[in-house]
């Protein structure tokens, strides 16, 4: 009789624990998804800023057609990219073209003093920061999910309901960590 009571209490306790663990894992997984979409939002914001930037720059540095065209092409590639690997590669290329554009713009003091350009530069800085923070948030949430899925008691529940570890948002190939070549 006593054993029955003890057993049923243990089963209830287990069920309650399993339920709370499952709920925790679900919210972690949703956080990861949220983080991922955040990155997309910020990347899109960057894509939308670039045409404005190129137009403003064209007014002052019309001779630098090369640099400007590279930026536009890189942006198009980034917008069209679909799978994760292509996306990461395209975004890195875009960053490096923007960087070279800014470096060339140093030679045009009129461009730097232009009010519109100052505003755009602030927006660009902000966008780069936002992308960085979005990636950081995503990686942090992925970290929490991975830890929860793999540590002992919770791993049991995770295995039962099919929660898996997720990859971090990082460069896949170590070689690509060098400054990427801008190739089309």
């Amino acid at each position: 009789m006593v054993i029955l009571i003890v057993l049923s209490v243990a089963v209830i306790f287990f069920l309650v624990w399993a339920m709370s663990t499952y709920n925790g894992l679900v919210s972690l997984r949703e956080n990861v998804k949220n983080g991922w979409s955040q990155i997309d939002v910020q990347l899109k914001r960057r894509h939308d800023l670039i045409p404005n930037l190129v137009e403003t720059a064209k007014g002052y540095m019309g001779h630098e057609k090369d640099t400007l065209e590279r930026v536009i092409k890189a942006r198009q590639v980034a917008v069209d990219a679909t799978n994760l690997k292509d996306k990461i590669q395209a975004e890195n290329m875009l960053t490096s073209t923007l960087r070279s554009l800014m470096a060339v713009a140093e030679n045009y003091p009129n461009l730097k003093a232009d009010q519109h350009m100052i505003k755009l530069q602030e927006e660009l800085t902000s966008t780069e920061n936002r992308i960085a923070f979005a990636r950081q948030y995503y990686n942090d949430e992925v970290n929490r999910l991975n830890v929860a899925v793999q540590t002992f008691p919770d791993a049991v529940v995770a295995g039962m309901f099919g929660f898996k570890t997720v990859d971090f948002f990082q460069l896949d190939d170590a070689a690509e960590r060098n400054v990427p070549q801008v190739k089309f």
């Binding site: 919210s27 949703e30 956080n31 949220n34 983080g35 955040q38 910020q42 100052i118 505003k119 602030e122 927006e123 800085t125 902000s126 920061n129 936002r130 923070f133 979005a134 950081q136 948030y137 949430e141």
Partner: protein
Amino acid sequence: MPYSFTQIEKDKTSLLRSVFTFLVLFYFASFLFIYWVSINLIFLQQDDLRSAYHSHSLNIFEILVTLLIAFAVGALHWLFSTNALVDKIVALLKARDLDSANADHAKFRNILDEVSVATGGIAVRGVVIPTMGMNAFAVADFESTPVIGVTQGLLMRLTRSQLEAVVAHEAAHVAQGDCLLATVTSSLFGVFNTVLQGFGQTVSGAFLSSDSGGGRKGAHRDVGNYFQLIRFFPSAFIGIVILIFVYFFIAFATMVSYLFRMFISREREFRADAVAVRLTRDPLSLAEALYIMAHRWRGAGAPWEVLDTIFIMNPVYGTLDEEEGWGADLFATHPPVKKRIDILLNIAHGEEDNLKEVMKKFNEQFKDQSLLSPNLEYKWFLLNKDQWAGPLTLLEIAQLNWFTPQTTVKRFGSEIMVAACDDKTLADLLRTKGITDVQKPYCPRCQRALDQTLYEGINILICVGCRGSLLNEDQIGLVLYRHNVTFAPRIVKMAKVIETEQKLSGGALSIWPCPSDIHCPKCRNIKLPMGRRLFNVYYHVEIDKCGSCGAVWFDRDELEILQCLSESAQNA
């Protein structure tokens, strides 16, 4: 760590329930206690004294009614305090919404959005307090979007990464939920503070009427009257008892508000610092920002003292914050700045010398504030011993270590000299520095307040009772310099007598002071009485000079005699 939006919303509901329950229970317990004590102490006195005294135990009906009343009172209090709280506080602090045309505001909005992305998307509204002090705050209530505000001074002077660190700290408070707790509890229990003050004043006014004629006698008379009243009408006694109970209730409520402050304690500030570092991954910037804010004027000036908790750094200087120990841990709202910076430097593997470098560059960059905001800054000249320093801005004045409420100041563009405590803006500055008795001095002979008079173009303090005057060291030189006043014949006569004595003594007289019988009315240094001495070897006028602040007390005629002597010496 509840970063996500849904988590914060969920926490809000549970917080709402628990704080409201606590409030109702608090009222319930207090009302029950008051009721029970009143029943037992007061109303039973009217009973037939022959029956045995038994304490009246409360039946279920009384308890339920009290609970109902407590619930009603609690609900009213709650609605009154938390309704549109964020808007109230923002208006109280005179903060303004962001203007997208302003580059600084646009930068601030961007920083807010960046930090919001880092936290996973909490919605935040930004405001700016138009003051040149450097501080930041966060408030939240149950319905509105949380608000993070910075001062104009902070926005203009910190670099982008430092601003981001400060905003991340405030966002951490919002995300952790203690912003909501702090705002709501300050509002709920802050009202008791003001009621208590008002109550105390009314009661003491009733019993200790300070009419100028009666003084102490008046008070005794009033209390005596009241006791006469009780002899004839015993029920008046009930009134006084209930009054005492209400007073203790409110005092108890104020204690509870302090207990809640304990909740919103130093630990939460440390945790917010840690979360800010986690959000920005940049501990050095936060250390720099805190260091800069600690060394410059933080006055945003919270009008209620309970609002101190919402700021990143206490807007009032020299409070319990800088102490260690369990007493300070209980009642201080912020941790000591040095400890916060040390912890951050530890994480950043940085040195304090880096911070000192940053501070030096900062001071060089913002030496002349008028370049940045010509219409926000007044300037003053300050008299330091004999030299006029200035023109100085409010911030620079706040930095000076020789600035006291009695420093002589002159507004830029005006020739009128006043003591710093009499200039409204500087008096506010002094108050933010924690100097509370920015008061007028009292005559050491007659015990009445000294009045300011313009004498020889300089504002000095004079007692209209005994014609004694109080001057700063620097003011004496100025008075002696001007020769506008003609002296009465008796002054000239006395001056002649002293001149003769000076000649005869040949300057060999000792001018060492002996202790005077009065204390300095200016610095009110009770440990050190003023020194009675001759003015100097040339002018043998007896004066009282304070050893700690240098102020000089001239009894009747002494100042005029001194002037007379000085003029005749110059004419000779």
